[in-house]
Amino acid sequence: MTSLLSENPNSYLIISVLIFSAGMFTVLTRKNILAIIMGIELMLNASALNFITFSFFRKSTLYSGHVFAILIIVLAAAEAVVALAILLAIFQQRKSVMTDDISDMKG
C-alpha cells in the first residue's frame, strides 16, 4: 500500500460515503421533486464510485465493477428521464412541483 492518498482505496470510499450522505440528506429534507431527483442522482453516483473502487483495488483484471457502474449510469439516466417526464406532466396540470401539493390521488 503506497502512502499516496490517490492510491489508497479508503480515500475513495470515504468520499463515496460523504457524497451518499449528502444525497440522502437532500432526499430527506427537500420538498421539491427536482431536488429529490438530484439527491437520488448523488446517491447513485456514490454507489457507482464504490463499484469502480472495489474493481480497481480488489482484483485489477476483473472489470465487472466497470460493467456495474455503466449499468448504474444507464439506469440513472432512464430514471431521470421518466421522473422528469412525470414531473413535467404534473407541472402542466397542477402548476407545482412540490410533493405536498401533489399528494392527493385525484382531484
Partner: protein, 180 residues
C-alpha cells in the same frame, strides 16, 4: 503532485454534493450537482476507468443535467426556492445522515478488507467483452428498459393526453384558477 490534484478533485466532489444538499436556490443546487458529477468522473480516471468516466460525462452531464436544467427552466415559476419537507425537519435528517455515515466509515475500517495496488490500463475492450459474454442478459434487459423508457416518456408528454387528463380532472388547479 498527483495527491494535490486528487485532494482538489475530492474537495470539488464532496463540496458539490454539500452545495446540492444545503443550497437555498435550485440553480445553485443543480450547479453543485454538475460539479460533483464532473469531479466523480475525474475520480474514475484516477482509478483508470476511462470508459466509465467518459460515459459519466456523456450521460450525466450531457443528458441528465441538461434534462434537469430544462425542467428547472420550464417550471421556474413556482420553484425558485427550496422549501423544507414538513415531515422531516433538518435536525432529525442530519442525525440520520450522521449516524449512517459514521456506521459506514466504522464498517469500512473494521471490515479488514484486503486491497491490492491497482493496475492501470485500457478498459474498453474488457468491458465490451464482459457485456457480450458474461453480462449479455443484463445488457439486453437494459436495452429493453431503455426502449420502454423512451416510449413511456414520449407517451407521458403527448399534448393530447395531458389535455385530456386536465379536461377530465374536474377540479384541477388549472380550471379552478380559470373559474376564478
Amino acid at each position: 503532485m498527483k495527491d494535490a490534484i486528487f485532494i482538489l478533485v475530492a474537495v470539488f466532489a464532496v463540496g458539490g454534493a454539500l452545495l446540492t444538499a444545503a443550497s437555498q436556490s435550485i440553480i445553485n443546487a443543480a450547479l453543485g450537482l454538475l460539479l460533483s458529477l464532473i469531479s466523480i468522473a475525474a475520480l474514475y480516471i484516477f482509478q483508470s476507468a476511462d470508459f466509465v468516466a467518459i460515459s459519466q460525462i456523456l450521460v450525466y452531464v450531457g443528458g441528465v443535467m441538461v434534462l434537469l436544467l430544462f425542467s428547472i427552466m420550464l417550471s421556474s415559476g413556482s420553484t425558485d426556492f427550496f422549501k423544507n419537507n414538513p415531515a422531516m425537519k433538518v435536525f432529525p435528517a442530519l442525525l440520520i445522515v450522521v449516524v449512517f455515515a459514521g456506521l459506514a466509515i466504522y464498517a469500512l475500517f473494521s471490515a479488514n478488507l484486503t486491497f491490492y495496488p491497482g493496475q492501470y490500463g485500457p478498459s474498453t475492450r474488457e468491458i465490451g467483452n464482459l457485456f457480450l459474454k458474461d453480462y449479455i442478459l443484463v445488457f439486453e434487459l437494459v436495452s429493453v428498459l431503455i426502449v420502454v423508457m423512451l416510449v413511456g416518456a414520449g407517451v407521458m408528454l403527448r399534448k393530447e393526453l395531458v389535455r385530456k387528463a386536465v379536461a377530465s380532472d374536474g377540479d384541477s388547479k388549472d380550471e379552478k384558477e380559470n373559474k376564478k
